[in-house]
């Protein structure tokens, strides 16, 4: 299955809503590498990341009629589906069991010791940029964006007031924008 048709974002959406096979093919060919990259920033295991990618496309296919162009671009919508699916995977028992030699994300001390403080060599994209932030910002973006913790959870993990967490995340994000 392949396609030579070129769609505008709007056409693609309306073709997907009509469950057009060609539209799926185009969607996959054009967006799967970018989405797989996003997923890989959260799920380092390639096989598990591929499972997440499948969930993401099944979800996009099923939920395309919920996409509202007034609220953002198609890619942003898909990016958020991908991030949420990856975080669900990250937190699933099956994934955590399969990563036994990795620290559990539930364990506060090991999170800070492992993924956060030492940016890994294979960090790419947004994660690489986040690695350039100063540490107090980096840890917040890592916990909230890449690990999906709520502001309340982060406040508990880092033993910071909720207000501080909120304002620091905002500042970290504005700084991140200047780097992208």
């Amino acid at each position: 299955m392949s396609t030579n048709t070129k769609y505008s974002e709007q056409e693609l959406v309306s073709q997907l809503v009509q469950q057009n096979d060609q539209a799926f093919s185009y969607l996959y060919d054009n967006y799967s590498p970018a989405l797989f990259g996003v997923i890989s920033q959260i799920i380092s295991n390639r096989e598990a990341a591929a499972d997440v990618l499948q969930d993401v496309f099944v979800n996009i296919w099923k939920k395309i009629n919920l996409y509202d162009a007034a609220k953002g671009r198609l890619f942003t919508w898909m990016l958020n589906i991908a991030r949420n699916a990856a975080i669900d995977k990250l937190r699933s028992r099956s994934y955590q069991d399969s990563q036994k030699n990795q620290p559990l994300t539930e364990n506060v001390n090991t999170i800070t010791a492992n993924s956060v403080v030492n940016p890994q060599q294979n960090d790419i994209g947004l994660k690489k940029q986040v690695g350039k932030l100063k540490e107090e910002y980096r840890i917040l973006i890592d916990l909230s964006y890449f690990q999906g913790f709520t502001h309340e959870e982060i406040a508990k993990i880092l033993n910071l007031p909720l207000g501080t967490v909120k304002t620091r995340i905002r500042s970290a994000l504005t700084q991140l924008r200047t780097m992208i």
Binding site: A49, R73, H151, I169
Partner: protein, 253 residues
């Protein structure tokens, strides 16, 4: 906060990256409708995130596309299957009964809620009505105990049993009336109170029989030798029909 401050507050990044709270998202959507510059800033950030993601693309494992496509078709088949199979399953019958019971319960609850609501409304109306009666009566009580108020006992004339009391406050010139016993009138007729100054009648107001012993506030008069009540056509604007004089009382001792 002006719109520029809002734009640079980090909300755009939170929103686009999915870190904003539901409340923040609702507010942001509203603001985007209002401020094109906010929408533009959002789109710019979206494009840069998109560009970033594309620059960091990773090819998924070979065969992913076919695997995903069959998963999609599988999921479509599954949902079709569910639709056709569901009615035959025992559990689903149970579910149907449960749903029916829930609907019945809901209807019943709505009915009770509605009945209670109606009763409550009726009670509320009665309470308001009684309150206003009590207010009027206490007002009457005050008037009757005011030392400046003169009580004029109106007695029935010419075999009429009509009786009423007129309360006349000589300092404020206020005139009040309490009907004690007066016959009901046809709907095109009204009672009218007059002050007689010398022999000249002065209109103090038309009135209908009040529903209970409340105090009627009539027109003020500075002078009165006597008070009289007549029966007049509804809305009478002429002089008194003295042939219909019902009761009279002297104001001067």
């Amino acid at each position: 906060m002006n719109i520029q401050e809002y734009i640079s507050s980090g909300i755009i990044e939170s929103y686009v990256l999915g870190l904003a709270s539901p409340e923040e998202r609702v507010e942001f959507d509203k603001m985007c409708e209002l401020y094109p510059e906010l929408r533009e800033a959002r789109t710019n950030f979206e494009r840069s995130i998109e560009k970033q993601a594309f620059q960091n693309s990773i090819s998924p494992p070979a065969g992913s596309k076919d695997r995903i496509w069959s998963a999609i078709q599988q999921s479509t088949v599954e949902s079709t299957k569910v639709i056709t199979m569901e009615p035959r399953q025992g559990r689903s019958t149970g579910l149907r009964w449960f749903a029916a019971a829930a609907v019945a319960l809901l209807l019943l609850a709505s009915y009770f809620a509605y009945t209670l609501y109606t009763k409550n409304r009726a009670l509320q109306a009665r309470i308001e009505h009684n309150d206003s009666l009590i207010n009027k009566m206490t007002e009457g009580e005050k008037i009757m105990h005011n030392p400046n108020v003169m009580v004029v006992n109106m007695v029935g004339l010419k075999g009429s049993s009509s009786s009423a009391n007129v309360y006349w406050d000589s300092t404020s010139t206020d005139v009040y009336m309490v009907v004690k016993n007066m016959p009901k009138l046809p709907s095109d007729k009204q009672y009218q109170l007059w002050a007689l100054i010398g022999s000249k009648p002065v209109n103090l107001g038309l009135f209908d029989l009040p529903e209970s012993n409340v105090v009627l506030k009539m027109k003020n008069t500075q002078e009165a030798d006597a008070f009289a009540i007549t029966i007049e056509n509804r809305g009478n604007s002429g002089g008194p029909d003295l042939g219909q004089l019902q009761s009279m009382g002297k104001a001067k001792l």
